[in-house]
Subunit: 649 residues, 2 copies
């Protein structure tokens, strides 16, 4: 059964092998510089190149010259709005991280200024984040008690912030931003919802006015801690808390109902703080079980370079905390930045954002700030208030500076329960059950990842949730490679197009020919599987043909259009397959081998073994060649049969 | 620019969604039972099913009835041949594992019998393996000194063997055989060569007659150990060793030159042992620095169930050793079995083999045997001696039984240096530099994996080498997913076929249309990359068109034939892409979405958003539709232009 007579209409090209270092260079470029940031530098003078380079690393130089008064007006309004949110949120989240409240205010001063210069998002509002604060308290409080050993605890938090920044900046500089991509949307939804649930539960401490509370973050520990102290619940605190939660929820609901009420929602936290403080001041409730913030030091951020505890025995804990909070902060921040950039249709450079986040955290850790990122809630308020550029962050920082310089005494009587209420309402918005339902509808595995992350965070710990989600996600990718699909193709009516018989039930089998499509690169991880699965297809097809009483199987065509790459194990698999098919008296043909695959097949002499004439550009041409040979043989056989009969006569 | 008038010749089918549990069931079947072992049970009576089931788990029941006298003759010859190899090798490898030499003989008695019943390979010769022995000594000797605390050390080795068997059998029963596939051919080549190098170096102890020697396996430690003891080298031992190495190498060389000399090679180790023992016995060399085996207990394997140290404080070490040696043993054994099965054209069931290996090690651990697998050298001898079935293993076991019962005193004077020579020559055959050169030629990354494994084993430790190789292999798979290629397609001359412009330089761009082929499933891990890379393609194409002064870009066609799967992050990416393309005033079209992808696109309403009329079965049809619309528009525009000119006139 040769097909030497059949003329192949479109031969398959074997591109020449590139020199090793050229190939390596181009694949490194594809891996690390997919967006080709050097493009704009091409064909420019040296001075222009320097300017462009500066603008690349310090984006403010790029847009500042085009800044207008109109932009300024919008940015000032947005900046003051987010400042009214930043002050109470800053104090609340610092409280959540078991850090002195003043650190929350400091963190809304320096980092936004750094980000305004280096960041490429126009909408991101910088500040402390709930999940990061929770992570810091849950990871550091295991090692050092924040109330008994406050100084060391603060030092470790600052050190962790430093390493978070260092890690973020390195990821950006080394163009390893794709590490963050391994936290999928599903992971983040589950993780954030879990963290929000845990944070809400933690606020029971503030709402119920409890003094002692567990350091664990899991559901069981928190419930145990709350229930076992039921005799210490303070009703005054509870009632106040419920009122404020109700007030904040109401404003949120109103702003959702009607766009014009947006300002009510934006101002509600500050209003609550003012109302709460007045109430406590007037009724002296601090003497009746309502805990207050107490004394806040006046003045700007003190330097904290000497506080970075590089020599501490807890350094590894600080580094670990830094890396985890850094990655989470980046994942949330970059995702938030990207979503709002899409709304306004501009582009965000992930690696540049990472450098900006890293620099702002490094700078922060030297000026008494703890971990900052781009919280969703504050960014949404910024966007809705009509911000135009990162100048709104500068305005916010200036407002916070004034607060630090002159207004800190006003927070003396602010009750902790108000802060808890603010956190609870912010967190309830993060529990994104609608996204989870959407995941379930579209992709069950994504839903599993999401629920795994959620359950891990709520029932075990934040780290466990993260590990579960990343493990499931990576296993899914590996499973896809280890178990690629093989699909039987048939001919679509009235065409030369071959498609999956499962997807197109009308597609027809070609008699005597089995056409299989392989769905992934052929690697060591799936070579054995593919061999077994393809043998089974051949057995099954033979059985089917036998039971139908049709012609037997003569050809196996492998459609390898989707095989983007092959390794030596894969080539051995093909060689073995060819042997097995030969022994059965069939012929193996390949359709549409791609550039890299055919190069390797040629180098390993597989093409010589199978014969260049059994490699086709399309499945259609391969089938045509097979049919041509089958018919020639049949007519030859028929002729011979005829001759034999003639002889017999 | 609508294309409502254009009639699509072949609509894309959206297959109905399968019920959740049915879909889950079929995907589990594809994952765990690719070879469909239940196929033969279909439509059979109950009694037949029981017989088939027994035959499935105990393959000897299947082939024993068809066993002939002719087979027996061949198997006896092969069995005796491998026994002559098994006895000296058994003693040598036990020595390598720092275990009493008699355990090596025990291990060639019980496990081969078990394998003969359960194994599906006809050629595999069972016995102890050099790499397994090395691993046991390097991992256990770290915890327990084999010379000072021999009893505990032996107990741990037996316990490790038990867990190796348990792990192997579980992998087989749970149909997780693909775990072994993650050790690619390249990994095994590098790892085995590294281990062989290390084992050779370790033999310097025996050759030079050293008494003290390092427990570390890395190059530096061994060289240091040898050099620092240069005053204790024994020349008698060294000369003897060199002679035997030369003799064994010579026989190996001869057998390679001429097939008829094969027997010389097979018998050489036993001959060396006999010659060496005679020499020592006659010259009393044991009193002049030539170490000998000494007393070996007569009798068959004693039971060792009570020796399994489940309560030992070193249990975790034993379990870890068991799992690592078990996986390595499996990977080598299954690969060896498969290669010889391919030569004789029969099929080996990986999962069944795992159960057989597991049971033979569990049985072995209860009868004073340590880890056994299917060594390549012994299997090759078995094959060359003309074995027909696993009966050759039974013959070998019987011969070893005789040795144990009657011949052990003969080994009293066997010099250790002969054993070292046997190991060295066997190991030199495992250093497969030709395979490494082949890897370099065909696949640079596979070569890197191989060299990584080799260097890790030689310069650090056996475990480090393994970890390096598996990490590189898995990273390669992840990188493939994280950085899929996107390829620009063009039309092949005189056809409707669209192929990569890189591979087919003759292929023509279609004016005004950019056709991109995506090379892998679209997942969270690559969604961001793909978005950036595709935007860059669009920018680049616009630049190119601008510089040529050609028509601008109107259409972007994504060929997603190779996109086997998509997750929610991938769908968001497509939605964003569509928005970006729309904003530029272009249109996005999809070509050949596959079954799973189109189902998810429909569920997520993406098809509604893009419009069913922008989804085509082939790239050719998509281009035809685009051209149709472009020409209609142009002629419309031309008409309008004409009208305008007419008006002006």
């Amino acid at each position: 059964m040769g097909n030497a007579d059949y003329e192949c209409p479109h031969p398959v090209a074997i591109p020449p092998t590139k020199p090793f270092f050229k190939a390596l260079g181009s694949s490194l470029k594809e891996t690390f510089f997919p967006d080709d940031p050097f493009r704009q530098f091409k064909n420019q003078s040296v001075s222009r190149k320097i300017v462009l380079g500066l603008q690349y690393f310090v984006p403010i130089l790029e847009w500042a010259p085009r800044y207008t008064l109109e932009f300024l007006k919008a940015d000032v309004i947005a900046g003051i709005t987010i400042a009214s949110l930043a002050v109470p949120q800053g104090i609340s989240y610092a409280n959540l991280a078991n850090l002195p409240p003043i650190l929350g205010l400091y963190s809304s001063f320096v980092p936004p200024l750094v980000y305004a210069m280096l960041g490429s998002s126009r909408d991101l509002a910088v500040g402390t984040v709930a999940v990061g604060s929770l992570l810091i308290s849950s990871m550091l409080a295991k090692e050092v008690n924040p109330f008994e050993n406050t100084k060391l605890y603060v030092q470790l938090a600052l050190t962790a912030t430093f390493f978070a920044g260092l890690f973020q900046a390195s990821l950006g500089l080394l163009r390893l931003g794709f590490v963050v991509d391994f936290l999928s949307h599903a992971t983040i939804v589950g993780f954030m919802s879990g963290a929000a649930t845990v944070v809400c539960l933690q606020q029971l401490k503030g709402i119920l006015g409890l003094v002692h509370f567990t350091h664990e973050t899991d559901l069981m520990s928190v419930i145990h801690s709350v229930v076992s102290q039921s005799h210490e619940w303070r009703w005054e605190s509870g009632v106040l808390g419920c009122c404020f939660v109700f007030f904040l929820m109401l404003t949120k609901y109103l702003s959702k109902k009607k766009k014009a009420f947006f300002w009510i929602n934006a101002m509600a936290p500050l209003t609550s703080v003012i109302l709460g403080s007045l109430l406590v001041f007037l009724t002296h409730a601090e003497q009746h079980g309502v805990q207050v913030i107490g004394h806040l030091k006046k003045g700007l951020n003190p330097s904290s370079i000497t506080e970075l505890a590089f020599g501490s025995p807890y350094l590894t804990t600080a580094v670990k905390t830094g890396i985890i909070t850094g990655v989470i902060g980046l994942a949330e921040g970059v995702a938030v930045g990207r979503s709002f950039a899409t709304l306004k249709n501009y582009h965000i450079d992930g690696n540049k954002e990472m450098i900006a986040f890293g620099m702002m955290n490094i700078a922060g850790s030297c000026t008494s700030c703890y971990l900052t990122a781009g919280p969703f809630s504050r960014t949404a308020v910024n966007f809705n208030a009509g911000c135009k550029t990162a100048v709104s962050n500068i305005v916010m920082a200036t407002a916070v500076m004034f607060t630090l310089l002159f207004l800190t005494p006003l927070f003396h009587y602010t009750p902790l329960v108000v802060l808890s209420s603010i956190i609870i309402v912010a967190m309830l918005g993060l529990i994104d059950y609608e996204a989870a339902i959407h995941l379930w509808k579209i992709d069950k595995l994504d839903f599993l990842v999401c629920i795994g992350a959620y359950a891990g965070v709520v029932f075990a710990s934040v780290e466990v949730g993260l590990v579960i989600a990343v493990t499931i996600s990576v296993l899914r990718v590996l499973l896809f490679i280890a178990r690629p699909r093989t699909i039987v193709l048939g001919r679509i009516n009235n065409s030369m197009i071959y498609r999956s018989i499962d997807q197109y039930p009308d597609a027809n089998n070609v008699p005597g020919v089995l056409i299989l499509h392989i769905d992934s690169p052929i690697y060591f991880a799936n070579a054995n599987y593919l061999r077994e699965r393809i043998s089974r297809w051949i057995y099954d097809e033979e059985d089917r043909l036998k039971s139908c009483g049709q012609t037997s199987l003569h050809y196996v065509i492998l459609d390898i259009s989707s095989v983007g790459s092959i390794d030596t194990s894969g080539i051995s698999m093909l060689e073995e397959m060819k042997k097995n098919v030969d022994i059965k008296g069939m012929k193996l043909a390949l359709a549409n081998p791609r550039s890299e695959v055919i190069k390797k097949l040629e180098k390993s002499k597989f093409i010589e073994a199978i014969g260049q004439e059994w490699i086709y550009l399309t499945v259609g041409e391969a089938v045509a060649a097979c049919n041509f040979v089958m018919h020639t043989c049949k007519s030859n056989a028929g002729e011979m049969e005829q001759n034999r009969q003639d002889d017999n006569v």
